[in-house]
């Protein structure tokens, strides 16, 4: 990620709704080609932040530049260089996938030959060939979502915004979509900004993650470093029979072992450093006449990190009546 230009620069961006501060003076920058995640519970302000960057919402104060253009004064310029996949479905269910893509391409002023070429490209890229003539209402939720990602990517954006891209998808479709998102980033070099409240999503996809809570950014770093700040990794071992002495006492003397606890026949070691400690531990055991019969390595999860920074686990959204109504209407296809 070194020596690349900042594609997004946010300075003290703030949004208030009737006195409620949804986004509270956030500042950060994102480099070209990065996959950057906003991780936080529902209502933390992730979506509001992204909506301001996409020029849908006007900030109360502060400023931001996307692709070098000001999000308030140069809206159209910003809009031309970004692609967006919204949290709620925003695709015409009465039209086919191809028609939706075609609609989008025309709205972005792509000429006929570019349109046809790009549509073919994104259909291939997201494996949607053969489904483009189906009405969106007849596609599965995962396929609908893939069409939306394809559409967001159609106008060759420099930055692609994905707002909770896998919300409501089953595990299989979620995994699939993750791989497509990775592919877009790796193959086409597009910068991706995503919001999520799924830890594993942020961990799997993002180069850097901003943990956001109550409108504030509480930490920004790579998932690995964020996890390390929480504390040490954990190694569990079982010592085989025929070992001499008290293994726990030996192990305590290693400089990078911070704590040793015995639990259910396993020895649990809090260690500084990562997996490279495993061979060191085995060498140490060999030289002290210990036989290790089983060994496990644990990393703290991003969930632990989140807990560390915010004092709580990510809250699940309660289904309000309006949400239920909306999801019901969505299922029935929004007839008018």
């Amino acid at each position: 990620m070194k020596n690349r230009n900042n594609v997004i620069e946010i300075e003290s961006l703030t949004k208030e709704f009737d006195g409620l501060v949804a986004v509270d003076h956030i500042s950060l920058s994102v480099k070209e080609g990065e996959v950057f995640g906003f991780l936080g519970p529902n209502g933390a302000g992730k979506t509001t932040a992204v909506k301001m960057l996409c020029t849908i919402l006007t900030p109360t104060s502060g400023s931001a530049k996307v692709c070098g253009y000001d999000i308030i004064r140069q809206r159209d310029k910003v809009r031309e260089c970004i692609g967006i996949v919204f949290q709620d479905r925003a695709i015409d269910t009465f039209l086919t996938g191809k028609e939706n893509l075609d609609f989008h391409a025309r709205m972005y002023h792509l000429d006929r030959s570019t349109r046809e070429r790009r549509i073919t490209e994104v259909l291939d890229l997201l494996d949607l060939r053969g489904k483009e003539k189906m009405k969106i209402s007849e596609c599965s939720a995962g396929t609908q979502r893939r069409f939306e990602v394809a559409r967001g990517f159609l106008n060759h954006p420099r930055v692609l915004f994905l707002d909770e891209p896998t919300l409501g998808l089953d595990v299989q479709s979620r995994r699939n979509l993750w791989d497509y998102i990775k592919l877009l980033n790796e193959k086409e070099g597009v910068t991706i900004i995503l919001t999520t409240h799924y830890m594993e999503e942020a961990d799997y996809l993002c180069h850097r993650v901003a943990i956001i809570d109550h409108g504030r950014i509480v930490a920004v770093d790579t998932p690995e470093k964020l996890k390390q700040t929480v504390g040490s990794n954990l190694i569990s071992l079982q010592i085989g029979e025929g070992s001499s002495g008290s293994p726990a006492d030996f192990l305590k003397h290693i400089s990078w072992v911070k704590k040793v606890e015995a639990r259910d026949g396993w020895l649990e070691l809090s260690v500084e450093g990562g997996e490279e400690r495993i061979p060191e531990l085995i060498n140490f055991a060999d030289s002290h006449g210990l036989v290790i019969s089983a060994i496990k390595f644990y990393e703290p999860s991003l969930e632990d990190t989140f807990l560390h920074y915010t004092g709580k686990t990510i809250r699940e959204e309660e289904g309000s009546l309006k949400e239920l109504w909306k999801s019901w209407m969505r299922r029935t296809g929004g007839k008018r």
Binding site: C54, T55, I56, D76, R79, E80, I84, F86, D88, R89, A90, I91, D92, T93, F94, L95, E99, F103, H104, R106, M107, Y108, H109, K135, R151, K326, M329, R330, G334, K335, R336
Partner: protein, 264 residues
């Protein structure tokens, strides 16, 4: 520079795209296509025909009731089609599609112009189908020049109510109470437009109400152009003037309200 800005405000490709989407959406739901023709047809068959057997209109010597009613039913199609086309922005908003449209690098004026032109095209085609059905039922048209003028009146009338629908949509903001409010506003406009009975034979108080109803001038203009000036209550130039002024006022404010609408 100036020309460039104009091209931004009136952006041909997105306008065409929005127009095309409206047509495709309409055509794809066959129930809507059938339904849009069925209701006017019911009025013509079950109201127009029996009434034409029952009586003549006293103040209009020699005009059959079906001839009198048909332009009113055509206007009804435009009223319902136009209002729904404008108000259905609420649907787009509720189902998120409005966001997709509003974040495109396209002026809101072009978006709403294309969308409304789509609605007007659909309603006008429906109206022409109704005219065809009326002719098949024995209604005599005045001639081709009358039909051409009628086409202008149809477009104006539909544009007026599209703007009106947009204002309702923007004011309402969501779908709650939508159907109730639509019926509460649209049906009185229809019933008090002179579609069923002649304005000139009503008592003064009712006449005043009818005179401030925009649809009255649409119905009257259609009557004058489709059937003949002798059936109309006002001179044709008056119908045209009122419709053009209302069209400018309502379409402009509709577009204005749309431009102020929040995407979600």
């Amino acid at each position: 520079m100036r020309a460039l800005e104009m091209q931004r405000i009136i952006d041909p490709l997105p306008i065409y795209t929005m127009w095309l989407r409206e047509l495709k959406r309409f055509w794809r739901v066959k129930a809507r296509v059938v339904g849009s023709i069925l209701m006017p047809l019911l009025f013509l068959v079950f109201l127009g025909l029996p009434m034409s057997f029952a009586s003549r209109i006293p103040s209009l010597e020699g005009v059959g009731y079906l001839d009198f009613l048909a332009p009113g039913i055509v206007a009804m199609t435009l009223l319902f089609g136009g209002t729904m086309s404008g108000a259905s922005v609420i649907w787009d908003k509720e189902f998120g599609f409005l966001k997709e449209v509003l974040v495109a690098p396209v002026s809101r004026f072009s978006v709403i112009l294309g969308r409304s032109l789509g609605g007007i095209t659909i309603a006008t085609i429906q109206a022409l189908v109704i005219i065809g059905i009326a002719v098949a039922m024995g209604v005599e048209l005045s001639g081709p020049s009358g039909l051409f003028l009628a086409l202008l009146i149809m477009i104006l009338t539909c544009a007026i109510f599209t703007g009106f629908g947009l204002i309702i949509a923007a004011k309402l903001g969501n779908m709650e109470g939508f159907v109730a409010i639509m019926n509460l506003i649209v049906f009185p406009i229809f019933f008090l437009s002179g579609a069923f009975f002649p304005v000139q034979s009503m008592p003064a108080w009712l006449r005043y109400i009818m005179h401030i109803n925009p649809l009255t001038y649409g119905v009257d203009g259609l009557r004058a152009t489709l059937i003949g000036a002798h059936v109309a209550a006002f001179p044709l130039w008056l119908d045209f003037t009122v419709l053009v002024i209302l069209c400018l006022a309502l379409a402009t404010s509709g577009a204005y309200f749309f431009s102020k609408m929040e995407a979600d």
